[in-house]
Amino acid sequence: MKKSSSERIEKRITSSVYVGDGTLRNRIDVSSRYFILEVEIKNPRASCPLPGQFFTIECGGGKEHLLRRPFAVHSIVEWSKEYAVIQFLVEEVGWGTRRLRNIMPGDKIGILGPLGRGFKFFQGNHLLVSGGIGVAPLHFAACYLEERKIDYTFVAGFKSSRSCYSGLEKLEGNVLVFTDDGSAGKKGFASSGAVSAFEQAEYVAVLACGPEPMMREVFQMSSSAGIACQVSLAERMACGVGACRGCVRRGKNRNLCVCKEGPVFDGTDVW
């Protein structure tokens, strides 16, 4: 059995990244596929995560499932050098996420982060467009904008009411929910929601996270409207810190290292 090492190496942690154990404080099922993990960290030392940044979580796979899984920060309940509570919104899609759904409050989980580069924000109206679990980092972005009294419209697309994320109801901004089958909100894709959002208002920036075809469509819409679009990419990761080159993908003119240079990129770097 491997023992927890968070204390031993704590003295050495000088960077802005926390590595060690967190404790599951709460797990909240929000739909048949989505759940929230609320994780407590003692002495995180690290700097407070920004919207778009992510952590890698050790799902307890031992030798059999070796890789950590990356998850964007969904919200910060509390953050100081001594104590932090953060939330991840997770969609159950395979072994690791199923395992995370089954851990119990009080259990320890290995976490590493905050990692990567998040979204850039501006003064003025923002358009946020998410597809599926892409709602996780954009929810954090919306909270961040609210705190700073910056306007936004949030277009969130889901497959159906079964996978819808109800937490959006607590947001104060203009939130428009779409489902593919019309079982909740309006019927349609997030990208068609974005079309009407573009017709109704002007924006200084567009932030998108979701399936790649959706992000690409939103990027193209933004480009024709002359607005910069930031997209949050997902690639399979091994190290999460820029060391293994496993998450690298082709961009428009160069390779993009998703874990280190991203996951948020300007759309113009990608397509």
Partner: protein
């Protein structure tokens, strides 16, 4: 207990090293890995020209292992010397460079540039990468080519040279002997093993590079046998690894003939895992009745 070892003339404070390609250029993990536990870091293989590597996806998790098709993406020797060397010299850990080229001459030229940098304590020759068309396994499967590469490097460098061998060969003893004859100071093994993963629904390979290299606990028994074979065939100091996950694995590799043991894929799961292994080593060695790691090397009872 003093955990330090001598490895072909270099002094390592512990026998645990980080495997090439899994710890980047070391500084990416600064503040995350506690390098004071680590004997040495072997940095990502560098080539003469920068390489952009394979298309995504490059990583696929399999049972007890990971398939990768990075395709030797690296920044090239010029950027290594100008951008990485200043960081490397600030780290409190010996750093071993790793090189790959398409010809023996290419290896030799890279080797002299590495040595000139003055910050690398040894050199690994990657003649076993399964993810490149030319200059990878091509050398590592052929005794003559292995020997030619090693001797070309040997003539151009004075720092210790460790050819990195693949187990995906018919007879690894022959390759190890050829490396020995070429003048290798030691051997490093094993590299990843060629593999393939398939998505049934799309009938596509899981990796952008189609095939990849398998690492992790799945390959450990193969690696142990390869280390044992090479130890018997040459007696050279060996950096052994492949699937190392915990201290038990380290002991197994040492018993089979490894003087130093590399941790690779396991670092992805736990960046502090190598440190935990080093902490656990003294009591494990004591239990086995040995007072230093080197006393365990090659003690397999047969």
């Amino acid at each position: 207990m003093d955990l330090s070892i001598e490895l072909a003339g270099i002094h390592l404070r512990s026998p645990i090293v980080l495997a090439s390609g899994t710890a980047g250029y070391a500084y990416e993990y600064d503040g995350i890995i506690d390098f004071s536990y680590v004997g040495a870091v072997i940095i990502k293989t560098v080539t003469m020209e920068p390489r952009s590597g394979h298309p995504e996806p490059r990583i696929w998790e399999v049972t007890a292992g990971v398939l990768n098709s990075i395709g030797l993406e690296n920044i090239g020797i010029d950027a290594l010397l100008s951008d990485v060397v200043p960081h490397v010299s600030n780290l409190d850990v010996p750093v071993i460079a790793s090189i790959a080229a398409e010809t023996a001459k290419g290896f030799a030229r890279l080797a002299s540039r590495i040595e000139e940098a003055g910050v690398f304590c040894a050199l690994e020759l990657n003649i076993s990468c399964p993810n490149v068309e030319r200059g990878g396994l091509e050398f590592g499967v052929d005794p003559k080519a292995t020997s030619a590469v090693v001797s070309a490097v040997r003539e151009n460098t004075s720092i210790p040279v460790f050819p990195k061998l693949s187990s995906a060969v018919t007879n690894i003893r022959e390759i190890a002997e050829a490396a020995y004859i070429g003048g290798a100071s030691g051997l490093s093994l094993i590299n990843t093993i060629p593999g393939l993963a398939v998505d049934v629904a799309s009938r596509r390979a899981r990796l952008g590079g189609i095939t990849g290299g398998l690492s992790g606990p799945a390959i450990k028994p193969i690696a142990l046998k390869a280390v044992w074979d090479c130890y018997q065939a040459t007696g050279l100091p060996i950096i052994g690894g492949g699937g190392v996950y915990d201290v038990q694995d380290v002991l197994e590799f040492m018993i089979c003939g490894a003087r130093a043991v590399s941790v690779g894929t396991a670092t992805f799961q736990d960046p502090q895992g190598a440190g935990e292994i080093v902490e656990a080593l003294p009591s494990c060695l004591e239990e086995l009745g040995v007072d230093s790691p080197s006393r365990l090397v090659g003690t397999l009872e047969t």
